[in-house]
């Protein structure tokens, strides 16, 4: 037998990693599908139009930035990260937003929040949430006009009509603009409390469904199912979603029991806004979240508390985006102070 020569002395382990960034991102996209389908079912084609616009724009910007940064386009363009950012951003937008809202949002998410900070793995802020925050502050009118559930629109707004509305703001003659817009349940709550009314009034509005926002509660159930599947598949760990929902539920329950006139039911906080989507898909973005177990619990819980605080006492009806961005700032600190003790650490042994 001839002699074997190994010229490349690679080092162990010799078992290739079974997972990849692409696989993880694809799983997250699959997990979003049930929620998206339910969202479309209840709010029409606007959801899909937003998603498609955001994805196309995100991929174009991603390609542009990769070329500009001289990175291998084939490796990064379809790693899935830009697509997820686009979908999450689109899901955060009003379903009847004009076409340039998702496009401008994608620009800010991909170009500014992601690539100017160094690209995949280096961004400090969650790109989708940073873009959402910028849009909300810059275009408050477009960003706060929410659609009524589809069942309340007669005649039904078809796909072409939705496209037409997105691009040219034109509605079929039989429909008034006011007929398709309505406040969300969280908007309603703010308004009623602002007027000095009891929150009970909001429960009687058309925006209220069974336990929370009409239509939104179903979409949220879809996102919950997808999120649980991600935990089951070990794509995400349970720590952040559980801690965040626990944080949100604990403070909202306490407040509800203290004053049920001023504070809504915890269910509205759980299923009314972006809580479920935020807990399972946004706060769990690995790049901007804490990496230690304790850190993740604190991070999640903090987002939950802050989300409620912004909703109850802050300037915006929903607070998930700002809570994620603000608590995200504490991540380096959390990672530093929650680092696990190494195996066999000697008592009182501290290198700091």
């Amino acid at each position: 037998m001839s002699k074997i020569e190994n010229n490349n002395l690679a080092s162990s382990p010799f078992i290739p990693s079974a997972t990849s960034v692409g696989k993880i991102m694809r799983s997250v996209i699959y997990a979003l599908i049930p929620g998206i389908l339910l969202y479309i079912l209840f709010f029409g084609w606007g959801v899909l139009i937003n998603i498609l616009l955001a994805i196309v724009a995100a991929l174009v910007f991603e390609w542009f930035m990769l070329v500009l940064c001289r990175r291998p386009v084939s490796v990064f363009l379809f790693d899935g990260s830009a697509i997820i950012t686009a979908i999450l951003l689109a899901l955060a937008l009003p379903t009847i937003a004009p076409w340039w809202i998702p496009v401008v949002g994608s620009f800010f998410a991909i170009v500014v929040a992601k690539h100017l900070y160094g690209g995949l793995g280096y961004n400090v802020f969650n790109p989708a949430m940073a873009a959402y925050a910028v849009l909300l502050i810059s275009f408050p009118l477009e960003m706060t006009l929410w659609s009524v559930p589809l069942e309340n629109i007669k005649p039904n707004l078809g796909f072409l009509n939705s496209v037409n509305f997105s691009f040219f703001r034109e509605l079929p003659s039989s429909l008034e603009f006011d007929a398709i817009t309505s406040a969300t349940i969280l908007d309603q709550l703010r308004t009623e409390i602002g007027l000095g009314h009891s929150v009970e009034k909001a429960y009687n509005s058309s925006a209220f469904g069974f336990v929370a926002g009409a239509g939104y509660e179903w979409a949220n159930l879809g996102f919950l199912a997808g999120g649980l599947w991600l935990i089951y598949r070990k794509i995400i760990s349970w720590h952040i979603p559980v801690a965040m929902l626990l944080g949100l539920m604990s403070i909202s329950t306490v407040c509800y029991f203290i004053d049920a006139d001023q504070f809504s039911t915890p269910w509205i906080h759980l299923f009314g806004g972006a809580s479920i989507l935020g807990a399972f898909f946004i706060a769990t973005d690995p790049i901007t979240a804490s990496t230690t177990v304790k850190g993740r619990l604190i991070y999640g819980f903090g987002i939950g508390l802050l989300t409620f605080s912004i909703r109850a006492w802050g300037g915006y009806p929903d607070g998930v985006a700002f809570a994620v961005l603000l608590i995200g700032l504490t991540v380096p600190l959390l990672d530093h102070y929650t680092a696990p003790k190494v195996y066999g650490a000697r008592k009182g042994y501290d290198k700091n």
Binding site: M1, K3, F14, I15, V21, G121, S237, P340, G344, R346
Partner: protein, 522 residues
Amino acid sequence: MRKLWRFTGGIKLQGFKKLSNTSIIHQIPIPEKLILPLRQHIGEATKPLISIGQRVLKGELLASATSFISAPVHASSSGTIVDIGKYPIPHQSGISETCIVIETDGLDEWGPGIAPNIRPEKLSRENLHTIVKSAGIVGLGGAVFPSAAKLKPTRKINTLIINGVECEPHISCDDALMQNRPDEIIRGVILLQRMLEPTECIIAIEDNKPIAIDSLRTALEKLTNAGVLDTININVISIPTIFPAGSEKQLVKVLTGKEVPQQGLPYEVGVVCLNVGTTAAIYDAVYQGRPLISRVVTVTGGEVNHPKNYEVLLGTPVVNLLKATGGLGSNKHKLIMGGPMMGMHLPNSDVPVVKATNCILVEKAEQEKDTIVMPCIRCGSCTTVCPMKLLPQQLYWHAKSKNLEKLDHFNLSDCIECGCCSVVCPSKIPLVHYFRYAKSEKKSHEFKLKIADQSRIRSLAREGRLDKISREQEERKAKRKAERKKKKTSAPKKDKSIEEKTTSIPGKIEGKNINAKKVAAG
């Protein structure tokens, strides 16, 4: 049932053990050449005692231990020493080290004095220790730490652990040994019990080796029934199959719940841990008088036609071993010593089987371009699986930027290089590779510091010497001046006062003080 603990992290791996795990241990013919490296263990290299051209007999001492952490090397077969020089050895970096080369004569003639001990039961602790030390026995699980150094602990040992876990995929040499020689292993354990006097003794085996567990339990029962009372405290414990449960620190945690202190050894928590192969080698040394000259090696992998376990003479070139297995597949090969998780790439098949060689794994060489390394996405999978509770991701950043201080802060030196982090990384970052690199950087940095320290001390000493010389010269000058003056002025009164002045020149004393200060500052 004994309570078992769970160590943090670890991963479940496909075992591939079925390829080779039978009870049969095959023999291979004596190779024409044996290459025996002087260092086959952790610690100091040995000192050769023989010269080129000399005939040596099987089991004869070739090179002696040079310190406490060292282990002698013996001739694996009879023959003539043909060379003492640099040969490639199994090493991560593919370097060469000094080896003794024997051209075998095929007679396999045992050296004088290598005969079974008549009454091994009557040997004293001190005698047993000497036998283990002079037989060159080291940890055969792969760490090759000289066993004798473990057998003189400075405190009471509660638990003696015999490690039959064998957690690496593919490897089955310990499994085969446990199936094949259970009696010898248990007799070895009894010897260890006599040396260490532990409260209890555990033979730990992963639950994916039911036949080995059975065979040891049966052998234990037989010995107990035969009236060997020392077996009472020995238990065969099956532990869950999670990589790296066979790593010493993790095994101590699983069986006792205790953690070996950082930079410490298991005896500090009252535990001594030895591999089953080592235990069998101790039996051989004590009962048969046989030094460590062979070991069981698994030859396996996708490219090996007939994976098997072999009893191989130390120093046998790997190529001879591969020949004996009946050839390899036709693909381009990748030759690995050890398992797929912690093994090392061999530079070529001429390197010898050494005391650390538990497995020769031959796999298809994959294309280089297959793996694209993506940026770290901070998913934290590496942290979750790290059995040492380290933060591989932080270590990776600092290894990349060669920040030695930060690497220290994040306990780089505690990394056992088990490979779990690399295997779960979705970005396919070769983390362990970075850590090995960082460790060697740290080592070379420390070495440089040491050299710098030494040269600073040397240079200070030189300055001191030069100072002294120039001072002495000046003194002599002053003296001569004084003498000249003395000659000029013959008045004896003046002469005395000058002499006083010269002797009271404070330079010498002051100078010494300055030097002392300098050295102290250094």
